[in-house]
């Protein structure tokens, strides 16, 4: 039997909202789950499913709605992957710890993985950190605008050309092309630096250094990516050599798991099930080492 507790975490005048799912008899490990960016949190319901599985397995688990999202109060400013928010995750960590839960793990999806790393740096006694499709190269706001490169890449897919045989797809594509041309015409006066540069895709040093610091503290890191996720491609870049070497070296404190499909979107049920199994098994391994 698991217990569902909706929680309002006071933060000054605002309240961050979380759902704590816990077993009646708790194990030694508690988990905070941090969703991606989005109105309902990218992967929100699927992450709640993950929370329920973890709770069934003995871990008290909280899924957080960031301030200004979901059921939380307050407004939000732009979400920036290179300066992830920390105030509400820290408040959630404190809330989770209050009844004497000492051993914590953080699980973050996409933008939530960046938040998890930032939060982990300031959380003592952290036992584990699971990063689900973390953006390795993130220097801009979440939700970048169209770029010519992205547009052409998508247009070049064979499936697009096959779809042109169907009238419904043709109408849809014509609509997209009209919108794209309109947006490019309108943005003609935009200075070049305001557009998204390709250098964005370089894995940033902060993220890699932070993971090294955390493993040096004994935090067990699980890195999960889908085989179509961009973070996996970014992991092959030269800037990520050291991180890739650690992820593939047994006993380094870091482990890499690749599943078929897109972990980033976390929408395909097979992917959700595979990632849930991985995280649950990882949490079991951590819990088995705790007093």
């Amino acid at each position: 039997m698991i217990v569902h507790e909706p929680l309002a975490i006071p933060m000054g005048d605002a309240h961050a909202f979380g759902i704590l799912v816990r077993p009646e008899v708790e194990g030694p490990l508690s988990v905070l789950v941090l969703p991606g960016a989005g109105n309902f949190g990218n992967g929100g319901p699927a992450l709640l499913g993950l929370s329920r599985r973890l709770a069934t397995n003995g871990c008290a688990t909280m899924r957080l709605d960031y301030l200004g999202m979901g059921e939380s109060t307050g407004g939000i400013t732009r979400l920036r992957a290179n300066s992830p928010r920390v105030t509400d995750p820290h408040a959630a960590v404190e809330q989770l710890r209050q009844p004497g839960r000492t051993n914590l793990a953080l699980v973050g999806l996409c933008y939530g993985a960046r938040v998890a790393v930032e939060t982990a740096l300031e959380t003592p006694d952290l036992a584990g950190l699971a990063l689900l499709a973390p953006p390795l190269a993130a220097k801009g706001e979440i939700g970048a605008s169209w770029t010519m490169r992205a547009f052409l890449r998508r247009v070049a897919r064979p499936s697009r050309w096959r779809n042109l045989l169907q009238p419904e797809h043709r109408r849809t594509y014509a609509h997209v092309v009209r919108r794209f041309v309109t947006s490019r015409v309108r943005s003609r006066g935009t200075p070049p630096q305001a557009r998204t540069p390709d250098t964005q895709r370089r894995p940033d040093a902060w993220f890699i250094e932070a993971l090294e610091q955390l493993t040096a503290r004994g935090v067990r890191v699980l890195f999960v990516a889908g085989d179509v996720d961009k973070c996996l491609a970014d992991l092959q870049r030269p800037e990520a050599d050291a991180l890739r070497a650690k992820l593939t070296t047994p006993g380094s404190g870091m482990e890499l798991a690749v599943v078929p499909g897109s972990v980033h979107t976390f929408r395909d049920q097979d992917v959700v099930d595979a990632v849930t199994d991985l995280v649950v098994e990882w949490s079991e391994r951590i819990a088995s080492t705790l007093p």
Binding site: I2, V3, H4, E5, P6, L7, A8, P10, D13, H15, F17, E24, A37, G38, N39, F40, N42, G44, P45, L48, R52, M69, G70, E71, T73, G74, G75, I76, T77, R78, L79, P135, I142, G143, A144, S145, W146, R149, A150, F151, R154, R160, N163, E168, H169, T172, H175, V176, R179, F180, T196, V228, K230, S262, H264, T265, R267, D268, Q269, V271
Partner: protein, 281 residues
């Protein structure tokens, strides 16, 4: 299922919010005014892909309603959102059962004498119409109502196609629509049975329809004509400053207290119409 109630108050925004899971696992949120309540509104939220896009707007609308003195009752249908169950379990009968149970919770909060209104967003509009049909004393506010399930299923597929092409942010959606984002087969099979024309046939009270931008004009005309056939009065508003339905913009960068015509107009209309209904004729 074991659960507890969480309650918090925001004085600046003028509401108190109670959140709980019902015994059958439905996530339920009741938003109360800080002062006296003059009416109640049952909010039938959007589903599938629309839930991601509209969720925060619906949360903020419930808080606007509370600030206007109207108790707002929201819930997540079983198998969706925070409620228990899998997307495969979603069924039209369960959706209606959850909505009726939420109606009962709202009625118990506002008392028997207070007037009620219904609100439905996208697919939730069909739910609000199904509940409101035959009750001409209940005003119904709708955001981008879907005309019928086949049209809606097609629109969701198109939305996904456009998002695939348009999304330059690094999101890879090659996996297609997830079960939680598409109309499940058990509902899609109902076809035209789940349409405004058949659900609204017993007659509706006053109806408010809002839509964003100019997209979907053909479907919008169909909806307007069908609603007009069965209602006592229709108010239609278009909000061109709202993000278009296909944009995939998920982050709503607006605070609850900021000026937002869609929310202001919807909450003001519901309050006004429920008050009209409570006046003796």
């Amino acid at each position: 299922m074991k659960t507890s109630v969480c309650s918090f108050t925001n004085v600046d925004e003028g509401f108190r919010q109670d959140v709980e899971f019902t015994p059958n696992g439905v996530f339920s949120v009741t938003v109360f005014p800080l002062g006296e309540a003059v009416a109640g509104t049952l909010m039938c939220g959007s589903l599938f892909e629309d839930m991601r896009r509209n969720y925060r707007r619906e949360v903020l609308l419930s808080r606007r309603l509370a600030r206007a003195g109207v108790v707002a009752q929201r819930f997540h249908y079983r198998g969706t959102g925070n409620s228990v169950g899998a997307p495969a379990d979603i069924a039209w009968e369960h959706i209606l059962d959850d909505a009726r149970a939420a109606h009962e919770r709202l009625r118990s909060q506002v008392g028997a004498s207070q007037p009620l209104g219904y609100f439905g967003s996208a697919f939730g509009a069909l739910v609000a119409i199904a509940l409101g049909a035959g009750h001409r004393e209940i005003p119904v506010a709708l955001w981008e109502p879907v005309p019928d399930v086949p049209t809606y299923s097609r629109d969701l597929r198109r939305n996904e196609l456009i998002s695939n092409l348009a999304d330059g942010s690094g999101t890879d959606r090659s996996a297609g629509l997830a079960p939680s984002d598409s109309v499940p087969p058990q509902i899609a099979r109902r076809g035209d049975e789940l349409s405004i024309s058949s659900l609204a046939a017993p007659g509706l009270g006053p109806v408010f329809i809002s839509r964003r931008g100019r997209e979907g004009r053909k479907a919008a005309t169909t909806v307007d004509a069908e609603v007009d056939k069965h209602t006592t009065s229709t108010t239609i508003r278009t909000y061109t400053d709202e993000p278009p339905w296909w944009s995939g913009a998920q982050v709503t960068v607006r605070s609850a207290g900021s000026k937002w015509r869609l929310l202001d107009d919807t909450s003001a209309w519901l309050r006004r119409e429920t008050q009209k209904m409570s006046m003796p004729t």
